[in-house]
Structures are given as C-alpha cells and as structure tokens.
C-alpha cells in the first residue's frame, strides 16, 4: 500500500471514521491508531517489517524502564550501560540493513546457490531509518532525565509505529509527540479541514509536480549522450523534483496527523529561500537536522577531550571553530551515509560539510571583504545573489545525491562541465526537452508548477500562510478551490504504467 494509492486513501478514510466515532470511549482512539499502524506496516511492507518493529519496540520499551530505574537508584554505570544498549541496538539493526546486507553479496550468492535463503536476503523494513532514530533519542533522553520512560507497552508501540510518519518521517521525539496519543481527541473542523487542505497540496506536489519533473529528469540522466546544459538543467529540475516529492509526502503525512489532531515536527521551512548552505540545513529535513544537532553535534563539540584539544589553539575564535568544524564534518558525513551506502553519499556529506565549516572558519574574512567592497547586506540584489549562489552550490551536491554511485556522479559532472559552452543554454527554449518524455504543453505546465512551488515558499517565508488565507474566504470560494485541487490531481497527475505505485524518494532512504 503506497501513499499515492486509492487503497491508502480508503484506509485513511476508514481509520479517521473509526477514530472519531469512538472518541467518547476512553483509550479507544489509541487502539484504533495501533490497529491502523500494524495493519499499514503489514500491508505496505509485510510480516517481516512488522516483526522487526515489534521486537525492537519491545526491547526498547524494556531498556527504557531499566535506564530510568538505574538513574533513579543512582546506579550511574548501569544507567549508562543500559543507555548505550538502547542506542546500539537500534543503530546496529539500522546499520545491518543499510550497509552490511548490501555488502555481503558474495555470501548471499553462495547461500542462494546452495538453495537456501538467509537473513541476508531480507529487504529493509519500512521506516527503519526514521523510527530507529526516534528510539535512540528516547533512550538518551531518559538517561538525561528529559522525560520519564513509557510504562505502557501498547502506548510505546503507538508512538513508534505511528502510520503516517513511518513512511518518510518526520523523526518524532517522544517528549513532543507521545503525550498527544494519551488524550482523546474530539472531531473538529479546525483539525480536519486544514488537515485535508494540507493533504491535497501534498498530493498536488507529488503527483502533479514531482512525478512530472521526474519524467524529464530520468530521461535526460538515462541518456548517455546528454551533455552540458541539458545535464545541468536536469540536475536543477531534479532539485525541484526532490523537494516537491519529499515535502509533498511530508505534507500528506502532516495533513493526516492533523486530521487526527496529532501535531508532528515540521520538516521544511521554505528551503529555497536559504541564503547559505548552513541556513538550508536549518530549513530542509528539519527533524533529521535537529536529531543530528542534539545527539551528535553538541555532544561532539562539548566533548571534554575535544575541548582539551581545542584549548591548545592560540586564537579564541579558532578554538571554537575547531571543535565546531570537526563536529560539522562528522555530522554531515553521517547525514550523507544515512541517505545511502555508496561513496557518492560520503562525498555528498563532505561537500556539505565543506561549505558549512568554511562559513564558520572564514566568517571574519568574509566580514572584512564585504566591508571593503561596501556591500549593503540589506539590499535586495545582494540577498537575491546569496539565494542563487546557495542554490547553485547545493545543486552541484545533487549530482552525488542523485547518482547510483560515485563513478556515475563524476561522469555526469564531467559531461556537464567539460567543454561547457554557454550557448548550450538554448535547450531550454528550442524544444530540445520535448525529446525527453514530455510534450511542449506538459513542459510549460512543469515550469508553471515550479514557479508556484517557489512562490508559495516565498509567501510562507514572509509569514503569509496560504491555508489561513483560504480559511478566511467564503464557503463557495473555499470549496471551489478544493474541487479545483482534486481536479488538478485527477487531470494533471502523472499516472499510468510505471507510475501507479511510484514511491517517494525519501521512502527509499
């Protein structure tokens, strides 16, 4: 069952009706959510996924109680030992499925050639990359007394397996999310209508925008003869595809949660208006960024050994830069390999780390240069330049994120920039792109969609929320917009062979 299927819509409808029809029965809504969670995991990913998440949940639930008990009794070593088990167990399972299960091809071939199946043949369980991080945060936070351990096993299962966010996040933290499942929620149009609006916008982003762009991008990247601006343009389009796909999926997820009166962590904050790579990572995949910042970055920077080393540096500013730079590099390499196992993802992480850490290291130099050049930092032109510069830097990084391996990424870069001629820009205007799966009208529609995507981001960044604006309009106008949205999905959505079950890009991570 995919997010983009009629079965999923039907499943949501049944879940929401059951959820609200039982709201007067104490605790019944939790039961509905739990059944929906388990049913979804089973139907989307099979019995194995269900078994993995249930076993991990049970182990983590018991570990949480042990951490709390040891902390309360002042048994610090035992508490730390349980905390590390709570970190290493989900991390180990994640690493096994993400890395080792793919690198043991030889052993897998050997076993299958002898007619047997093994654990090596198992596919990665749905949502593993997301809920294992929630589990790690849960153990660490109990150890640091940020919240109590969950004492009710089904409640813990409800939190970890929450069906909307199991697909592609956001990464939920227990303290923020779990308490919401413990209260009963009355049906309210203040939740249901905005939730439906967000789902509608999310589906438009995925089905109309991301999947349409995907046709051109896949065709260009699949063509070994595409060079220079054609490839560069494909990578620019891919950036928009990735954003529409990921944020569209997140909108659907957040919308469903909102319908159920559950608030999850926002994962995007208009990333395309970012003026630096650092700012971009505060606006893109926010829940992963927050996890990395809280559980990797700060502990690394403030690590006693790290601080002792940095104290040896004479300059006070460079002392701070040193530990922050090391932590940034570490975090971004982790972010890179969280996305995938290939060397291209390691390079992707290092590439991001380079810009984030040099922004800190060279900040005094940048400041002096700007002052010497009399740059007015408040001017619109300077800010537009910074947004475009950030986009270009990030788009180069997309070569590594999109390629299957490092060799392919390097090949694409070579074909894009070796012998580059600015005149090759004509491919945008002369109909060349119509060779890549979309006719002229569809390409025009694709550009309009991208402009809408950017415009909505700019308005959101200025504090203008489209949904709030819509809610202020009269009922006829509002329902006309909803109907238009549904028709846009039906008429302009990309369906047909190869697209009926096209999954979300971040679902694969």
């Amino acid at each position: 069952m995919q997010l983009k299927s009629l079965e999923y819509v039907l499943f949501i409808l049944i879940t929401v009706i059951s959820y609200y029809s039982l709201y007067r029965v104490r605790g019944a809504q939790r039961f509905v959510i739990l059944v929906a969670n388990l049913f979804f995991i089973y139907s989307a990913s099979g019995l194995f996924s269900l078994a993995v998440i249930t076993i991990l949940c049970t182990a983590q639930f018991l570990i949480g109680i042990q951490i709390e008990k040891a902390v309360t009794e002042g048994r610090n070593k035992a508490a730390a030992a349980f905390m590390w088990i709570g970190v290493l167990l989900p991390l180990g399972v994640l690493c096994y499925f993400k890395f080792f299960s793919r690198t043991l091809d030889v052993l897998r071939d050997y076993i299958s050639s002898h007619g047997a199946t093994s654990l090596l043949d198992l596919v990665m369980p749905i949502g593993l990359s997301y809920y294992t991080l929630s589990m790690i945060a849960y153990s660490v936070d109990i150890y640091h007394k940020k919240h109590e351990a969950e004492k009710n096993w089904p409640d813990f299962l409800v939190f970890i397996t929450f069906f909307p966010s199991i697909i592609e996040g956001p990464i939920n933290l227990y303290k923020k999310t779990a308490p919401q499942f413990k209260t009963d929620h009355a049906p309210s149009e203040n939740n249901i209508i905005p939730g439906l609006q967000r789902c509608l916008w999310g589906y438009i982003k995925k089905v109309v925008i991301a999947d349409r762009i995907g046709i051109v991008v896949n065709a260009i990247l699949g063509d070994d003869n595409s060079v220079m601006f054609t490839l560069i343009w494909a990578m620019i389009l891919f950036f928009f595809q990735m954003y529409a796909d990921f944020s569209g999926g997140i909108d659907v997820i957040m919308g469903i949660a909102e319908i159920l009166d559950i608030r999850l962590t926002e994962n995007f904050r208009s990333p395309f208006v970012s003026k630096s790579v650092t700012e971009f990572w505060q606006r893109w995949h926010i829940s992963l960024g927050e996890f990395m910042e809280k559980y990797i970055y700060y502990p690394t920077v403030l690590n006693r050994r790290m601080m002792r080393i940095s104290k040896k540096i004479p300059s006070k500013y460079m002392q701070k830069c040193f530990s922050a730079t090391v932590a940034s590099i570490f975090v971004f390499i982790l972010v890179g390999i969280w996305h995938g196992t290939g060397w291209n993802y390691v390079v992707y992480g290092c590439y991001q780390a380079f810009f984030v850490s040099t922004a800190v290291l060279l900040a005094p130099l940048y400041k002096k240069s700007k002052s010497a050049l009399h740059i007015n930092e408040e001017s619109l032109s300077w800010n537009i330049f910074k947004v475009l510069r950030t986009f270009c830097i990030l788009d180069i990084g997309m070569y590594f994120a999109r390629a299957a391996d490092l060799e392919t990424a390097i090949d694409w870069l070579k074909r894009s920039f070796s012998g580059f001629k600015l005149s090759s820009i004509h491919i945008i205007f002369d109909g060349t792109l119509t060779q890549y799966g979309l006719d002229e009208k569809n390409i025009g529609l694709m550009y309009i969609c991208i402009l809408v995507l950017i415009l909505v981001d700019i308005l959101h960044d200025k504090g203008i929320r489209m949904r709030q604006l819509l809610m202020k309009q009269d009922i006829v106008f509002r329902y006309s917009v909803y109907l238009a949205g549904i028709f846009i999905i039906i008429i302009f959505g990309i369906y047909g062979y190869g697209f009926e079950k096209s999954s979300f890009i971040y679902q694969g991570f």
Binding site: H144, K146, T278, Q282, E293, K294, Y297, Y298, P299, V301, L302, M307, Q319, K320, S323, A324, V360
Partner: protein
Amino acid sequence: MEEKILAILKEIKPGVDFENKTSLIDDGILESFDIIQIVTTLMDEFDVQILANDIEPENFNSFKAICDLVKSKCS
C-alpha cells in the same frame, strides 16, 4: 552577572534585541555555532560546566533563560 551575560550575547550576535526576544532558538535567531560560542564563552567566563544535554530551546530561548541556566550551574 546578568550584565556580563548580556554583553557576551551582544558581542557574539550583535543587533539582536536580547532583552525582549523570547524565541531565540524557535525563530532561528541563534544558530548552532552561535550557541557553541555562547556556551563556551559562558563556561570560560563563569567557570561553569554546561553540558550538551543542557542545550535545549527552553534554556536558550531568552536572555532570562540563559541567565537562569548559568545561575543553576553556579549554585
């Protein structure tokens, strides 16, 4: 102590209305490197130990919260 903390904050992040802002983290006014600079300077200046798990929005969202954190570490 409060005046000293305010001076540290203004030196690290000039132009921010620290006296009145109450969502320094939530609004993204203080970035991670700003936090690191603030934490390490406060540690040096007041000889206190601020741990990674003390870095929570509720401890850094306002000038008052930062002062309270330092006071709690001094006592």
